[in-house]
Amino acid sequence: MKKSCIGLLIAALGAIPTTGFAQVKVGAKAEAGATLDADAAGAEAGADAKAEGEGEGEGDASAAGEGDLGAEGEGVGDICKIDPAACPVLDMKKEAARPIKESIYAVQQLYVMRARRFEFNPWWNVKSLNDQFVQHTGPGIGINYYITNVLAIGANFRYYSPFNGDSKFNGQVRRAARVAVPLTEYEWGASLDFSYVFANGKFAGFGDFIFEYDAYVLGGVGALSTRPIAVIDPDNRNFEYKPKLAFDVGIGLRIFFTRWFALNVAVKDYGYPEKLESLTVHEVNPGDQSTWLSKSSSLTQNVELQTGFSIFVPFSFDYRLPK
């Protein structure tokens, strides 16, 4: 039973990517039983060509040219029969070869419409980018609702507690220089954010396949639960986690595999006021908790590299205008 279940699982895994790709592959050889309306395909591929700003698909030119010749040939003939003086003299080949100067958009139709869709974004904090002493890795999840195509409101939650990594380097410095650096570890974090998609783009891979991406910025407010790691007087001090007000800003990049599934990489900076462990030990009563922390708070920044996925729900959407 177990083996057959594994078989089913493999089948299901295999099915996910194959059903998702919305990008068409252009250029494959025709096969029996797999034909496609050439005009429709031309429009799809031509959009990419036009989008480069200079490109004009060969298919567009030839297909349009032939269509025009046939249609105008009949129409012109009728006019000439009724009124020969009004009969226009046109070199249709020359007219067909004339360059067309139409309005061209760099990105003609957005691959993904986000308006009124939810985005579920599970991620992993891969690295703390500005803390060489303690790494704050761990999982996180964000949920965004796109009010418009570019603006979203959302919430996220991060869990650090078992994943804080006190570097071996800290102990080596303490031993070598007899100087202890106050350290901090995190328990959890949560925030409410606004995010704004400021850039869209597409990449052609090896000139063969095309994928889309977008870039966004976000900012918000929330809480971060932290505590000092006792390094100055670990024999007497034991700190409890306490939530602090935290602000965050970030920038991210989504690479779309389908119209609802994307790789999401972001760099976010969480700023919060931190009371570090006091560098002095009370000589008479080192167990007095009021002496364990420094008197003033210092603004601490935690810059994280987060890598995860974005899943947009509902999975499909309609464009307001045809392509």
Binding site: M1, E31, A38, E56, R175, F203
Partner: protein, 296 residues
């Protein structure tokens, strides 16, 4: 014949899985679009601006090291390469790392160090009451701390990295739906040749804090984005990893005890720690000749 009572269930499940697999492959074939019209065989992008093909690239660059423990290095340099095709180039990046900024850790250690030295001066007689603590600390750190910590810190003097650059992705970017730029993404693996300055090996080491230069080799890889501003120049952002072992703090941290994981009061190669050295680079890329080619 004795059969397992669950045989039927297993058989049915296996057949279902097999059919599912067959169904998947059939379905995936249907995802391909086969064109019979004039676009059959056409490339994904026509009239592509070939910013790189057969062009020489000179890119003045400034690099900033990341996650430094004792001091940050700013490397002034340039990347020079020849692009044989739009996706393949051969060249090198190099720079001079003479600009260094101490981190907060260095400042903290030096502040304590200075305080100790001041206290030590007043305690010329070790038998003076109250001086023992300071003297003990002084003895424990005499192998590791000079009068000024910054003078013993290791640093990158120069770097040269012969490299190959692959540009697999080429695209465009719409900023606020009003600014449009051609972009590309590249990967540059190569060999890093690094000129370092480190604390010189010593035994005994108390009061010995002279520095020495050495050259080391390391693999390197860079990932970058180019944003083409016009036909002959682009703004570039690049991340580079350059992993190698070195003694950044000039401290005795290893060489003795179990697994050589404890100090041995000597400065040797055992005190070099492997670091995944990283940096971010900003560059302005110039392409010669100034006119690009355009694909069919």
């Amino acid at each position: 014949m004795i059969r397992n009572p669950r045989f039927k269930t297993r058989l049915l499940t296996a057949i279902t899985a097999g059919l599912a697999l067959l169904g998947v492959s059939e379905h995936s074939q249907a995802q391909e679009l086969y064109l019979t019209g004039p676009l059959a065989g056409a490339p994904a992008v026509r009239k592509l601006r070939l910013y790189r093909k057969t062009r020489f690239e000179i890119a003045p660059a400034v690099s900033f090291t990341l996650l430094d423990e004792y001091q940050r290095t700013i490397i002034l340099g340039a990347r020079m390469q020849f692009n044989f095709t739009d996706w393949l180039a051969v060249g090198a990046w190099g720079g001079w790392g003479g600009l260094r900024l101490p981190t907060a850790l260095t400042d903290n250690i030096q502040a304590v160090n200075k305080q100790r030295l001041t206290s030590q001066a007043a305690c010329s007689d070790p038998n003076t009451p109250g001086c023992n603590g300071v003297n003990l600390t002084k003895r424990l750190t005499e192998v590791n701390l000079s009068r000024n910590l910054e003078d013993q810190l290791g640093g990158i003097d120069w770097v040269v990295t012969p490299q190959v650059t692959f540009t697999p992705l080429r695209g465009k970017l719409a900023l606020f739906q009003s600014i449009y730029m051609d972009t590309d993404f590249y990967i540059s693996p190569g060999l890093g040749i690094v000129g370092l300055k480190e604390r010189k090996d010593c035994d005994p080491c108390a009061g010995q804090f002279s520095m020495v230069s050495r050259t080391t080799f390391a693999p390197t890889i860079a990932l970058g984005l180019s944003f083409y501003v016009n036909k002959w120049s682009a703004l570039g952002f690049e991340y580079r990893a350059l992993p190698f072992a070195w003694n950044g703090g000039g401290f005795d941290t290893a060489g003795g005890g179990k697994d050589n994981a404890f100090p041995d009061n000597k400065i040797t190669s055992a005190d070099q720690r492997f670091r995944f050295n990283q940096m971010m680079t900003v560059s302005w890329n110039f392409y010669l000749p100034t006119q690009y080619k355009v694909s069919e």
